[in-house]
């Protein structure tokens, strides 16, 4: 793409209230229908009437399948309406970025919940036998999106390090039992084996299935990557193994991290053309958040940067002028041709109104930056 400052989605959207009500078998409220009506008008959603009919029918395997297609289409049209250049469907049918992948893979077992904070919990699986491919868990979703999207498509896929880091490692640690006198070393070596197998055995067949189906750009999401800096080389090795010779464009999304800790190991990624990172969250009026661009450059980073220009944890709408300023600031450091523009991370925790305004402001801000640079 020759267009300067292409804009892209980076993660998941909220779930539509009518989607949740239908799939949970709950009564469809007037507010659900109002949401559908409002956004159908805003984004030009062609399936509004179909949804209304579906919401009147009982939930059956057939109607559930239809609903899953429709919510994917809703996500596609929503993102297109904001003006983004690269889209997906807002991960409309994924439970979340971990469990969906693990439940459709081999070697894992769920025991119960673990607390994340306060009264919030998540299910954490244990790897109890060799990690492996179950089924191409994003393939149907990708086929649907690519068949219906009017913009270019980028497929988000959870990366090997995050899948391993968010799981208990029973199998690989048991394999090494008795081989290390030091428990820390035992755990570390077992982690390496685990991450590598998740990359090679679990993830690679999934990526290959997507590429075989026509995927041109896959974004590997690695929110856990900076958790343990000493383990970044495990990710690099796994990434290189699972993407070797795939023949598609690959990028990596990381957020809320001390990015400097990833270097120099992360420079060894062989097939990665872009790092999409969060910046807006740490910014202020002095552009402090974007000084990181200079630091990354000094660490040897030469790839494209997916520039996070909108903080996904606040409802404030960054106006196009601010977005443009952030883009131009980074552009002056690494050059305009290396900058893609995106929110810091997925916007699933914001309301639909806020998401729409934020994404719309991003696309307007990118356009403003283009005009400034070419005028």
């Amino acid at each position: 793409m020759n267009k300067l400052f292409p804009t892209q989605e980076i993660g998941s959207l909220p779930k539509a209230p009518w989607q949740l009500a239908f799939l949970r078998g709950k009564t469809i409220e007037d507010s659900d229908l109002a949401h559908l009506k409002k956004w159908s008008q805003v984004i030009g959603f062609e399936a509004e009437e179909e949804v209304q009919q579906l919401l009147k029918t009982p939930k059956t395997p057939e109607s559930e399948k239809k609903m899953r297609e429709i919510v994917s289409l809703f996500g596609i049209r929503f993102l297109e309406a904001t003006g983004l250049d690269y889209i997906y469907d807002g991960e409309a049918n994924r439970i979340e970025m971990y469990e969906h992948a693990i439940r459709n893979s081999q070697g894992f077992q769920f025991y119960g919940h673990v607390r994340a904070f306060d009264n919030k919990y998540y299910r954490k699986a244990a790897c109890v036998s060799k990690a492996g491919f179950g089924k191409p868990y994003h393939l149907d979703e990708y086929r649907y999106v690519s068949a219906h999207a009017k913009r270019k498509v980028k497929v988000p896929v959870t990366g090997p390090y995050t899948l391993a880091e968010w799981s208990f490692n029973e199998y690989y640690q048991k394999q090494l039992s008795g081989k290390y006198s030091d428990l820390g070393n035992l755990k570390l070596e077992a982690k390496r084996d685990f991450v590598l197998d998740v990359g090679k055995e679990l993830l690679r067949p999934n990526l290959k299935a997507l590429v075989d189906a026509g995927a041109e750009w896959i974004q590997i999401d690695e929110p856990a990557l900076s958790t343990r800096p000493e383990e970044v080389p495990f990710f690099v090795e796994a990434f290189n193994e699972c993407t070797a010779g795939l023949g598609c464009r690959l990028s990596v999304h990381i957020c809320y991290s001390e990015y400097q800790q990833l270097y120099p190991s992360i420079l060894e990624l062989k097939n990665c053309s872009q790092l999409a990172l969060e910046f807006a969250n740490r910014d202020d009026e002095k552009r402090s958040g974007y000084k990181l661009v200079q630091q990354l450059k000094e660490l040897g980073e030469t790839r494209e940067i997916g520039l996070g220009v909108s903080d996904v944890h606040v409802n404030t709408i960054e106006d196009p002028q601010l977005i443009s300023d952030r883009i131009i600031y980074a552009s002056n450091i690494i050059g305009p041709e290396k900058i893609y523009v995106n929110p810091d991370c997925g916007l699933r925790t914001r309301s639909w109104d806020i998401v729409y305004q934020k994404l719309n402001s991003i696309t307007k801000g990118a356009e403003l930056a283009r005009r400034k640079l070419t005028s």
Partner: protein, 324 residues
């Protein structure tokens, strides 16, 4: 430091070291509470059931010290927003390298013991067996480092006041029959330096009591660089995370204190081999001959699902039988 009415010390003392996971029932009810679908009474009842079960599990497993599992603690610091003045719970922060978060205590004013009655909400001494009661508190250094300091000119001043406030809590706990106190200090192994250590040492002098045994438990990171300093602290026992601290360097020290071996992994669901862990603990025991040996998980078991935590307790029993 201990001269009070301590029970006869077994050769090996088995105990738990942190927040215990909630049962699936309590998970469901606390979630429902957040959605307005369950009452506070429902939550209290579920927590009470979990507490009764946890005490029964510990007794049945023959643990030497019994804890209440801190089942109504939202994180290691939260109760102190109620117990102390000057602190409010702030934004979420990652708890070390875990996919678990805590609310940063925001220190807005001088830290003091404010609400003595709140102590009974968070330390359930009434249900614990006499002479086996152990309470777990955040250590003053960890408390200060994990906080957002908006009231003190520097970290040492904050550490000092937190230690004095914790001392007031310790006095209250003594009155409630606690004879073992654990101070959890994960920050000691991650951010400390020699200058800070002197302040931390002073803080433990402030906390020192003759009627209770104190365990300074370190975890998540390697304690090797500061172990010599810790051996001079006014505590009875030093705790190590054997998944973070290699044992060979530790074996070189003349261990003048009691030692807690955090040898059961609270962050992996794999049920370790009692035989393998037993060999490791015996090696430590015979090489450095600590004044007493404690065995425990390396950290809180709340990083595990409930059913796995229970298995880890049974492993602790099995391990004790191998090394006693």
């Amino acid at each position: 430091m201990c001269s009070g009415p301590i029970q006869r010390i077994p050769l090996v003392i088995a105990h738990l070291t942190g927040i215990y996971p909630r049962s699936e029932n309590a998970v469901g009810i606390t979630r429902a509470f957040d959605r307005g679908k369950a009452s506070r009474e429902d939550v209290t009842k579920a927590t009470q059931t979990d507490l009764t079960n946890l005490i029964a599990i510990q007794k049945a497993a023959g643990l030497d010290l019994v804890v209440d599992g801190q089942l109504n603690w939202q994180d290691i610091f939260r109760p102190f927003s109620d117990i102390f003045t000057g602190i409010t719970p702030g934004s979420l922060s990652r708890w070390f390298d875990n996919n678990t978060f805590y609310r940063k205590p925001v220190v807005k004013d001088r830290v003091r013991l404010g609400n003595r009655t709140a102590i009974d909400l968070y330390f359930r001494s009434d249900l614990l067996p006499n002479k086996q009661k152990k309470a777990i508190l955040p250590g003053p250094f960890t408390f200060a480092c994990a906080s957002q300091n908006e009231a003190y000119p520097n970290l040492p001043d904050l550490i000092d006041d937190v230690a004095h406030a914790l001392r007031e809590v310790v006095l209250e706990l003594e009155q409630r029959g606690y004879r073992y106190l654990q101070f959890s200090e994960p920050y000691l192994t991650s951010t400390t330096n020699k200058t800070n250590l002197q302040f931390v040492k002073n803080a433990y002098a402030t906390l020192s009591r003759s009627g209770t045994k104190s365990i300074l438990h370190t975890y998540f990171n390697n304690v090797e660089e500061i172990i010599v300093d810790l051996l001079n602290f006014a505590v009875d026992c030093i705790g190590l995370d054997l998944y973070a601290t290699p044992i060979e360097p530790i074996l070189q020290y003349s261990f003048t204190k009691e030692l807690n071996c955090g040898c059961i992994d609270g962050r992996n669901s794999l049920i370790e081999s009692a035989q393998d862990l037993g060999s490791l603990v015996e090696k430590i025991q015979t090489t450095i001959s600590p004044k007493a040996l404690y065995i425990s998980p390396n950290c809180d078991l709340e990083f595990l699902p409930y059913q796995i935590a229970e298995k880890k307790i049974r492993l602790l029993t099995e391990l004790k039988s191998k090394v006693s």
